[in-house]
């Protein structure tokens, strides 16, 4: 059951409001999605830690009324890996920007995926670096403008969901800030998934991406998000769908698969060595 609009007061750290985010920034909608997801799964907030990188997106932990760790640029997953291993009972949600997760943090992203450790990444993809003022990201679509690609980017961009799957993530999904009902549900499902899960959420940065690429203000950008995406059925993308997609990004769950989770495997290793992990 959807529960958008419910009282999220206890999930939000009131004393940190208002947020630093710009008017109309999609990041607040994603943050709300995380809070809603935590509410949906009935999380014990004392046992939740939200770990963020550096970037506008990385500020999310400050606004969650949970344990909060605002780490360094790109490394949130490495911090989260240590945290989760040291205290596997914690629910650990990692919020990272596209630059944070895929540029400087790309390595930790693929390695955490490879290990299939039970962390949930919410990847805020606004196609640009927001915090530092609009430079290009590995997600900036070829041809798009940013302050470091004033003539349009000449670089192909990553598809985070393809990369995550190739690296070994066992739950991989994409949503947008337009999809306010599905997005929190996907996050909730990702958190429940026992393994490494990634939910990429396409977000709007009206201040930089929108302005530099003449996409209008936040309301117009939400429309633009809708127009460039296409919901697809759960499961691996069949080739035919890829054809239909032309110019659109699929949204939905691309992979949901149970494989042995890292802390569980570590528990077995300790047992085999005669030890009790996290007694």
């Amino acid at each position: 059951m959807a529960s958008v609009g419910q009282d999220l007061t206890e999930y939000l750290r009131q004393e940190m409001m208002p947020t630093v985010w710009c008017p109309g920034c999609g990041h607040g909608i994603i943050a709300q999605g995380i809070a809603t997801a935590l509410q949906q799964i009935g999380a014990d907030l004392d046992q939740v830690v939200v770990v963020g990188g550096i970037g506008c997106s990385g500020r999310t932990p400050f606004y969650m009324n949970t344990g909060a760790m605002h780490t360094t640029h790109g490394r949130a997953l490495a911090f989260a890996t240590g945290l989760k291993l040291a205290r596997p009972r914690l629910t650990v949600v990692v919020t990272m920007g596209d630059g944070d997760a895929l540029a400087i943090g790309g390595n930790h992203f693929i390695h955490a995926a490879r290990r299939n450790i039970d962390l949930t990444v919410v990847l805020y993809n606004n196609s640009i670096y927001g915090m530092t003022g609009g430079q290009s990201a590995p997600t900036t679509p070829q041809g798009s403008r940013s302050t470091t690609t004033p003539l349009g980017s000449i670089e192909p961009n990553f598809d985070a969901t393809v990369l995550a799957q190739a690296a070994g993530a066992t739950f991989v999904a994409r949503s947008t800030t337009f999809d306010f009902q599905e997005m929190p549900q996907l996050i909730a499902r990702a958190i429940r998934h026992p393994g490494f899960s990634v939910v990429e959420v396409l977000s709007q940065c009206p201040t930089y991406y929108g302005r530099l690429n003449r996409l209008g203000e936040a309301p117009e950008m939400l429309q633009w998000e809708r127009d460039r995406t296409l919901p697809v059925p759960d499961g691996p993308l069949p080739e035919i769908t890829r054809e239909d997609l032309v110019g659109k990004q699929p949204i939905g769950i691309f992979r949901e698969e149970i494989r042995p989770e890292y802390t569980a495997r570590y528990r077995e290793l300790c047992a085999a060595a005669g030890g009790t992990y996290n007694a």
Partner: protein, 181 residues
């Protein structure tokens, strides 16, 4: 110049064009043949946070670049007034966007309908230029000619007409103020 060095502080919220305004003012001072330093300060917020831009103008080389006690203050928003607006040198001039009074009833300074004037010109973003015009009309911090030239140099061509109008409107607004500070 009202004083040498002359210290000016512009402040407002991110997105109001404070830094650009400071740059234009500094450029005008340069064209007046003076030494000038412009500095700026803003928080992590790209928009909405209080930000300031300071300009020091002098006939001599300027050592310390920041403004501790401004001679002229121009303030566009409530958050900026609360953070930066209350400091002013003795005998200094404080110019405030009039709507600040609604939020801060004890605000001290000359209230000016900057935003209203900009809106009447069709674009509230011209607020900063209106403010510059008023500031210069009231204080003669720099020459109007230099300010016009600086504006032409720094502004995007597509907004040129709007900005020229805004500047002149600002000059008129400043002239209309009863007691010239």
């Amino acid at each position: 110049m009202r004083s040498d060095p002359l210290r000016i502080r512009l402040s407002g919220r991110g997105g109001q064009g404070i830094i650009l305004a400071g740059t234009v003012l500094a450029e005008a001072a340069m064209q007046d043949g003076l030494h000038v330093v412009q500095t700026q300060s803003y928080g992590p917020e790209a928009r909405l946070g209080a930000s300031k831009s300071e300009v020091v103008v002098s006939s001599r080389d300027i050592a310390f670049p920041e403004v501790l006690m401004p001679d002229l203050v121009l303030c566009f928003s409530r958050e900026a007034y609360q953070k930066f607006g209350r400091q002013v040198a003795q005998g200094g001039v404080v110019l405030l966007e009039e709507t600040i009074l609604a939020d801060v009833p004890d605000a001290q300074g000359q209230l000016l309908p900057l935003r209203r004037t900009a809106r009447e010109l069709g674009n509230e973003l011209a607020l900063n230029v209106v403010g510059l015009g008023a500031l210069v009309a009231i204080t003669e911090a720099v020459s109007r000619e230099s300010l016009r030239a600086a504006l032409r140099h720094r502004m995007k061509p597509e907004f040129m007409e709007l900005n020229v109008q805004a500047l002149e409107a600002g000059f008129r607004l400043g002239e209309s103020v009863p007691s010239r500070a």
